[in-house]
């Protein structure tokens, strides 16, 4: 019947498109865990949102993982295993926890000895459970929720700083920078997306800020999926007399915040992003123009002063004609961690790989306070956010000193 055919086609086509963009066809069978003979490729799973609203970052992350595998293979593969090559199995989580879960299961069944991913905390939560059940290590490149590593899982590790570290350092950075500029922050208004991510940042930030003697208010939240304007919230900030506006949210809403700040002119000393998905992204200044000038973001960020990172940026630009963003650099690092662990364990047995990962001590391409090392719960103890600011239409690193490209400009009252 025509209608069922049309409906079937309409559904099958995007699935096929997603599949083409994502997964490779099933490889040779073999449950994860078999030791590989010398010369056979070692499979690493890469699970990211290749479609859906986070596809922009998800596709970059998968691309970067591919680049890492290519670079490692070009340098001779895993030498302790006879030069064994790596093979990346890409999968699309579509940003959905159920899909992420089933895709992770599938990757393991296809022989992945480790999984890298996933971006959304809800997806990573499910994948962590799958990893634990199957005893296959899962290296989280991006996902901020503290809860993921609070369940005693032994097989999950996280590269980015946890939500708690991001929020507390964000408050500390604000305190330090504003005090050094002679205008210590007193009253901080908060605008956060209402989901677990934004709420956790708001809660932890508030607690830390208050412990440092600052006051919080007013606090407003919003639904990132449906918000279209912030002029009302901005008017409330203006009326409240707060001297700093803290914003925790994603890219789309970050752009709207900048527009509202420009329209309403709330007269704050600074707009202070904490783990903000917009303010340190290279396309942000171009999209909002003068409206975003001076915006801060206390966030984990690729280290633009590191020559290896710079080399990666060049390679990515040349191959994909696009500027690489921080999330993708984390995926690159995640593959490096796995390769390094394979090198040390000399075995593709997932449990041995897991043990090697736990002993990792590797310099990161992300700006951090130390090399990548994992604590008892799997958190990266070297991970820490740095402070970025939009200056003259570009995102630059300003604090701490060892990563600063220029000094921070405080106060940075948004452009009039």
């Amino acid at each position: 019947m025509r209608k069922t055919w049309i409906a079937g086609l309409a559904l099958a086509l995007p699935l096929a498109l997603a599949a083409c963009g994502g997964s490779t066809p099933p490889g040779t069978a073999g449950a994860g865990g078999a030791t590989k003979a010398a010369g056979e490729a070692i499979k690493i799973g890469s699970l990211h949102p290749l479609s859906g609203s986070s596809a922009a970052d998800g596709q970059q992350m998968d691309n970067a993982a591919k680049l890492a595998v290519e670079a490692i293979n070009a340098a001779g593969g895993i030498k302790s295993m006879g030069g064994a090559k790596l093979e990346l199995l890409s999968a699309d989580s579509q940003g959905k926890p159920e899909v992420g879960q089933s895709e992770a299961q599938r990757l393991i069944q296809e022989g992945a000895v480790s999984i890298v991913g996933t971006y959304q905390s809800a997806v990573s939560q499910n994948v962590a459970a799958v990893a634990e059940r199957n005893k296959v290590p899962f290296v989280i490149d991006v996902s901020s929720a503290d809860a993921i590593l609070a369940q005693g899982y032994k097989y999950s590790f996280r590269l980015q700083p946890s939500g708690t570290v991001l929020a507390e350092d964000g408050a500390q950075n604000l305190f330090d920078v504003s005090k050094a500029a002679g205008k210590p922050a007193k009253k901080i208004a908060i605008l956060h997306e209402q989901g677990p991510f934004g709420t956790a940042i708001k809660d932890t930030f508030s607690k830390k800020a208050q412990s440092l003697g600052m006051t919080i208010g007013p606090v407003a939240s919003y639904d990132a999926a449906s918000v279209s304007d912030f002029t009302t919230q901005m008017a409330a900030v203006k009326a409240s007399g707060s001297d700093v506006l803290m914003v925790a949210g994603y890219y789309r809403d970050g752009v709207l915040v900048a527009n509202a700040v420009k329209t309403v002119k709330p007269g704050v000393n600074a707009v202070w992003g904490v783990a903000n998905g917009a303010f340190d992204v290279p396309t942000f200044p171009g999209e909002v123009g003068a409206a975003g000038e001076g915006f801060f973001d206390s966030n984990y960020h690729l280290d633009g002063t590191n020559p290896d990172t710079q080399a990666l940026m060049k390679t990515y630009q040349a191959k994909y004609k696009d500027q690489i963003r921080t999330a993708a650099v984390l995926s690159y690092d995640a593959v490096r961690v796995i390769a390094d662990s394979l090198e040390r364990s000399g075995s593709a047995d997932p449990t041995k790989v897991r043990d090697a990962i736990a002993q990792t001590n590797l310099k990161s391409l992300i700006a951090s306070k130390g090399p990548i090392t994992f604590g008892p719960t799997g958190e990266n103890e070297g991970a820490a956010p740095i402070l970025m600011q939009v200056q003259s239409g570009k995102v630059v690193q300003t604090f701490p000193k060892e990563f600063a490209q220029t000094a921070p400009r405080y106060p940075a009252t948004p452009a009039s």
Binding site: S51, A56, Q194, S221, Y222, D223, T232, R252, T263
Partner: protein, 340 residues
């Protein structure tokens, strides 16, 4: 053959309301309900003022709410028209809006024109696209169970999203209206782009209303919505009317897409943002009622903004939800819907 007959006038029978002497468009407006609605908002604004304690903030909320609401109304009008006439819940409405967003992006980047100029291209293109979709994809699903329609329009939305993703990539894009500055209005501020979006949306909504009430085609559309069998019996080709109606609805989504293009970050999934709001507005205003969609849009817009003042720690969606449930509880068919 006939007997002696009385004169050929029917006996007058006592009637209900008789609108015998008001030929104007606004005779149909239910004034009591409008008055109640306005009264409700005066109270709501007063409450917001008490809560926020600051007149500037309340003024800002009201202004932003009305401006956003107008655009919500335009999106919802297209959706409700499609439901009222074709009985189709069009889950692809937001995706069509996204297509218009990308038409705008392409025109601005290739031709360097003012984004509003894209209206002249997007609206006809979306009209034709809607006609084509209705004719070739949806016509077979008419009158079939609801699940078929849901499946098809959902599948269509997925298809459009993925085609946009493949053609334009996932990276966010933007367009800017030249000379976009803040304008002071009654102590609050709004950008030129938002004011224009509102203004054009209202004009288009008025045009749609006039089309439906005063033109032959519009009356035929209302006739088909009222009684499909009756329409066929007067000789109306209902297949053509369905096609035209769906096309008009899609054109509304297209116009709304062009108008909001300077106001949002453009990604393949941006359309979904408006899908959710459009459905809430359509149900609130009464499914199938075009005036209801516009009024519903304004209500949701205002609720969203005033809600940010009532419950500052909570997402404004909470207030929208409260109002939505309240209205449906008191009047399940929606504000302007027909009791079934």
């Amino acid at each position: 053959m006939t007997e002696q007959i009385p004169s050929a006038t029917a006996p007058t029978v006592a009637e209900g309301e008789g609108h015998t002497s008001s030929p104007r468009l606004w005779a149909r407006v239910p004034w009591t309900r409008v008055a109640i609605g306005v009264g409700f908002f005066v109270v709501a604004i007063a409450l917001a003022y008490l809560r926020a304690g600051n007149g500037d903030v309340v003024r800002q909320a009201v202004l932003t709410g009305i401006l956003i609401g107008g655009v919500y109304g335009l999106v919802a009008m297209g959706l409700t028209l499609i439901f009222g006439v074709l009985d189709i819940v069009n889950f692809a409405h937001g995706a069509f809006l996204a297509v218009a967003l990308y038409i705008t992006v392409t025109m601005v980047s290739r031709l360097g024109v003012n984004p509003l100029v894209a209206l002249f291209v997007a609206v006809p293109v979306m009209f034709l696209l809607g006609a084509g979709v209705q004719r070739f994809v949806l016509a077979g699903a008419m009158g079939k169970p609801l699940e078929n329609q849901l499946l098809i329009t959902l599948g269509l939305a997925l298809l459009i999203d993925n085609v946009l993703l493949m053609s334009f990539g996932p990276n966010p894009q933007s367009v800017k209206l030249p000379g976009d500055t803040g304008v002071q209005i009654f102590g609050a501020v709004a950008t030129v782009s938002r004011l224009l979006a509102f203004g054009v949306a209202i004009v288009l909504a008025a045009l749609l209303y006039v089309l439906l009430q005063r033109t032959r085609l519009g009356t035929a559309i209302r006739a088909v919505a009222a009684n499909e069998a009756g329409a066929q019996l007067v000789g109306i080709d209902t297949r053509r009317i369905y096609m035209a109606t769906f096309a008009i609805g899609t054109a509304c989504a297209g116009a709304a897409g062009v108008l909001v293009a300077p106001l949002v970050t453009i990604e393949p999934t941006t359309g979904e943002l408006f899908n959710i709001i459009a459905f809430v507005v359509v149900v609130l205003g009464g499914m199938g009622n075009v005036i209801g969609a516009l009024v519903g849009g304004l209500i949701i817009g205002l609720t969203e903004q005033l809600g940010a003042l009532y419950f500052p720690g909570q997402s404004p969606l909470l207030s929208v939800f409260v109002v939505f449930v309240l209205v449906l509880f008191l009047r399940p068919q929606g504000l302007f819907g027909k009791a079934s």
